[in-house]
């Protein structure tokens, strides 16, 4: 009985893999296609790599998908072989060679610097159950309303929109590491169908761009978004976008700009202006950065680069303290019925304390203010608007914001890029 069940599951898994391949095959791909319009699905290149068997894990797919698209086919094949064997070596090589976004030509190579391979495979495996309200991501779903409240509290302190008193939806959001789209979809739902009508919520969203390096998760997020007609409409009009890309690519202008009317994407010869967002969100992302391939500092600096002056960088993460170790490692990842998150979701050593985030952001603000000709200097970080509030999950009650509990585990943080 059990054998047959597990066989069935195995068969199910196998049969579920190929659709990713087939779906990529129907997308026409041309090596000469200029990067003008919507980002071409990178996984279309999978076409030329039939040697990768579907039984290899998803990292291989995604790594392959993030390859440079302008190299000759032979080089590409060589690189992909290398990557299959030693992905981290390639990543560590490519990371330091990154150049500032402003000096980047439009056809520069993709970089995967902030994407961690282990994390990718872990979360891709969770893809099918991501939207199950009773599944392993339940705890994230429950936290989601607090994210809206925290953003609203940030906007109440300082609005990036030119007219802070108006309630028109004007803000462009970028969600980095959107995963299955828990936050991105909920925010997209608050975008008014009629752009001139007042925004229904204090988050004042006018557009949302959500990016994640995992092909599976983006695919699943798009599928789920179609189940809500409002969100589906936003997906069709482009006010809401899911992009299977990295932050570095967005900064390099390889991804479409937040507004469809932007000219930077329609003119390939012009200087790529990095997309400018009013709010960049980083929910539960910082603790998943692989220190081997990237540093939180360079990652946060890139996030700040994507921000308009006056905009907010808002995130949430977990602090690295003894209570947080007990709560997040011992209790939360304990077997059912005590545990609430799947084993291996978090790695304690990657957790970051509020002080560390704050330090990186100060440094990041200065670096983000660097231009080709001058350094940003400490003026950029002076008077940094910093907000931080802890949250605690109480079983049976839910998530509660508890100021002062930042050192206990989960906390929200936000920083404003001054005008």
């Amino acid at each position: 009985m059990f054998v047959s069940v597990s066989n069935l599951q195995f068969a199910f898994n196998i049969s579920r893999k190929p659709p990713i391949n087939t779906s990529s095959q129907i997308i026409p791909w041309s090596p000469y296609q200029p990067k003008l319009t919507r980002a071409p699905k990178p996984r279309s290149q999978f076409l030329i790599e039939p040697q990768i068997s579907p039984t290899t894990n998803t990292i291989t797919y995604t790594m392959a998908s993030l390859r440079p698209r302008t190299l000759p086919l032979s080089v590409r094949a060589l690189r992909s072989t290398l990557r299959q064997t030693r992905p981290s070596a390639i990543n560590s090589l490519s990371a330091p060679t990154r150049t500032p976004a402003t000096q980047t030509p439009p056809t520069r190579a993709h970089s995967t610097s902030s994407v961690s391979a282990d994390e990718l495979s872990h979360f891709s495996a969770l893809a099918s159950s991501w939207w199950d309200p009773m599944g392993p991501s339940r705890i994230l779903h429950l936290m989601n309303p607090l994210r809206h409240e925290f953003i609203a509290s940030c906007l109440a302190e300082g609005s990036p929109s030119p007219d802070p008193t108006s309630s028109t939806a004007t803000l462009n959001y970028l969600d980095v590491g959107c995963g299955g789209g828990i936050f991105a979809e909920s925010l997209a739902r608050t975008i008014p169908l009629d752009p001139t009508s007042p925004a229904p919520t204090p988050t004042l969203a006018a557009s949302m761009t959500a990016i994640d390096p995992s092909t599976d998760l983006i695919q699943m997020a798009r599928e789920h978004a179609r189940m809500d007609p409002t969100v589906d409409t936003h997906l069709r009009t482009g006010r809401f976008k899911y992009l299977n890309t990295t932050l570095e690519d967005v900064l390099a202008g390889n991804a479409p700009a937040p507004t469809p009317t932007s000219t930077s994407t329609s003119n390939p010869t012009s200087q790529p202006t990095p997309p400018q967002y009013d709010i960049v969100t980083l929910f539960e992302v910082l603790e998943h950065i692989d220190p081997k391939t990237s540093t939180p500092l360079s990652f946060l600096t890139n996030c700040l680069r994507a921000l308009k002056p006056g905009g907010w960088l808002i995130g949430s993460t977990i602090s690295r303290t003894l209570p947080s170790f007990i709560l997040n490692q011992v209790i939360a990842e304990a077997p059912w019925p005590i545990g609430v998150v799947p084993r291996g979701t978090h790695e304690w050593s990657k957790f970051v304390n509020p002080d560390e985030v704050r330090g990186w952001l100060q440094e990041g603000l200065m670096r983000a203010a660097d231009t080709g000709v001058s350094r940003g200097g400490s003026a950029a970080a002076e008077g940094m608007r910093w907000k931080c509030v802890g949250t605690i999950y109480i079983p049976g009650i839910g998530w509660k914001m508890v100021p002062g509990s930042e050192d206990w585990g989960n906390y929200f943080w936000a920083v404003r890029k001054e005008l």
């Binding site: 309200p133 429950l142 989601n144 309303p145 189940m227």
Partner: protein, 511 residues
């Protein structure tokens, strides 16, 4: 029909052909096939369904939601409902103060005809077997110098429904569809409107069919609901669609209702505005009799008794019926059991006054308690009716894109007059949940949204329903014995311990 046949055929069709089939179907009908989308569709236009709609329209957060209500009765008639000032409908409910404050908060209370509404400040409850008594009022919490607090407010359901309809039409007709005189012909899951439409395969799609004269001219309408609310009563079609089972039992009792006119009270109440409700448990006859005040010295009767007794009482001529009601508040169990078996006037014409004679004669030999209501003198014609008493509780209140409120979720014994109040508390909780969801970007039909409503209401409803069930069972043990002693002791203790009594009253009133 189509989704089922497709699902059944699916394994037998090769993948490419399967693709072709669905593509072809899409090409034909996706435009005409796509149902109209609504955020909240409420089936049932009773006080609960209309209360939800009025609450959603009243809140600035949810007033932009596209809502629909489907009701098989004529809502225009309900909105134009009117009666003579001294005529009262026999469907009357008591509203607890928390229900009243909910109705005030959504602006519906102002539309209530206050001349047809009666507050009462005192409730006398006693045991017909042992005579032990309890008096519910707020005197232990208020000083003698302020006005007595209301225990409950009596209102006709028709008055409440009319007020809610007026409140809803006050909010304008933007984003609002009232399908009056219409029934739900079918509820099924929608389909994936690929490639040019959203995936509605998890959305309930209702076919709304007009009834009555409009049935020939109007075509059935298909509407899809982000959240489908079942406020459609004990045999809820929405609940069957969601495949939610219910537990419960029939009490084997009927409730008799009637509108009565009372004689002037022997002693004027003090203060003059004070009104009293009376309830006497009659263990030998199967349940309590209650007389609840209405304006101008009228009262509504609710008498829970066995179906045989109910049939007997309904067959009595008016004077005999009045005599039985007055006897039920005055005489001993033995006398009442005897009178319940007396030949009615139809078989022996000379015995027409016999019920009154029996009452007069027997009352002389009974020590009357001090708290009896003034005698009933007249029955409003056509108001004597009965309905079966049942207990039902749905296993869940929510399922994806479905929520149950009111009688669709729970039906309880009416002895505490809580049924409508639980329904309104459901509606208050569900509308609050929807407000929270809309202001936090949540999908209002999502289980993560709805579970907040279910968590908030399931236990309180089970508690009240269970308490009413327990009281019913305790007060159905006839004769003297340990149960009678225990309930008398309990009643006496509660009556003498103000904090226990105020705790119980607060529970009953939803504070």
């Amino acid at each position: 029909m189509r989704p089922i046949s497709r699902a059944v055929l699916r394994p037998y069709v090769c993948p490419t052909c399967r693709h072709g089939i669905s593509a072809g179907r899409r090409r034909f009908g996706s435009k005409s096939d796509s149902p109209e989308l609504y955020d909240v569709v409420c089936v049932g236009g009773g006080p609960a369904g209309l209360g939800l709609l009025a609450a959603l329209r009243a809140s600035p957060i949810t007033s932009k939601l596209k809502v629909a209500l489907i009701e098989s009765q004529d809502l225009r008639k309900a909105k134009a409902w009117d009666l003579e000032p001294n005529q009262f409908s026999n469907r009357v409910s008591s509203l607890t103060p928390s229900s009243v404050s909910f109705l005030r908060s959504i602006g519906a209370y102002d539309h209530l005809d206050v001349n047809r509404v009666q507050d009462y400040q005192d409730m006398q409850v006693w045991d017909g077997q042992t005579g032990s008594r309890i008096s519910f009022d707020w005197s232990m919490e208020t000083s003698p110098f302020e006005d007595m607090r209301t225990v409950a407010t009596m209102t006709e359901n028709a008055n409440l429904v009319r007020a809610l309809l007026r409140r809803i039409s006050d909010s304008g007709d933007e984003n609002l569809s009232l399908f009056s005189n219409a029934t739900v012909a079918s509820i099924e899951n929608g389909s994936d409107l690929k490639p040019e439409g959203p995936d509605l395969s998890a959305w309930p799609v209702l076919t709304v069919k007009p009834t009555g004269p409009a049935a020939e001219t109007e075509t059935p309408k298909r509407i899809a609901a982000r959240l489908l609310v079942g406020a459609d009563g004990i045999n809820s079609p929405v609940r069957s669609f969601a495949d939610i089972p219910t537990q419960g039992w029939d009490y084997g009792r009927h409730g008799i209702v009637a509108t009565l006119a009372l004689a002037d009270p022997a002693t004027q109440p003090f203060p003059a505005s004070k009104r009293t409700a009376y309830q006497r448990f009659l263990p030998a006859l199967g349940g309590p009799i209650a007389l609840l005040p209405l304006p101008n010295n009228h009262a509504t009767l609710v008498w829970s008794t066995t179906p045989e007794n109910a049939a007997y009482l309904k067959s009595l001529p008016t004077p005999a019926f009045l005599a039985m009601v007055n006897a039920a508040f005055r005489l001993d169990m033995t006398d009442l059991t005897y009178m319940m078996g007396m030949q009615s006037s139809s078989s022996s014409p000379d015995s027409t006054p016999s019920h009154q004679d029996e009452l007069t004669w027997r009352a002389q030999h009974t020590q009357l308690p001090s708290q009896i209501p003034p005698p009933a003198t007249a029955v409003q014609t056509g108001t004597v009716a009965s309905f079966p008493l049942r207990f039902r509780h749905a296993a869940q209140y929510v399922s994806p894109r479905v929520a149950l409120v009111g009688d669709a979720a729970h039906v309880i014994h009416p002895l505490a007059g809580q049924g409508l109040n639980l329904g309104l508390a459901d509606v208050a909780s569900l509308s609050k949940t929807i407000q929270y969801a809309v202001s936090h970007g949540m999908d209002v039909g999502d289980l993560l949204t709805l579970e907040r409503y279910s968590c908030e209401r399931y236990l309180p409803n089970a508690k009240i329903g269970g308490a009413c069930d327990l009281l019913h069972k305790m007060y159905n043990v006839p004769g003297e014995g340990p149960v009678a002693w225990a309930r008398s002791l309990g009643l006496g203790v509660v009556d003498r311990l103000p904090f226990v009594k105020s705790f119980l009253m607060k529970n009953a009133e939803g504070y």
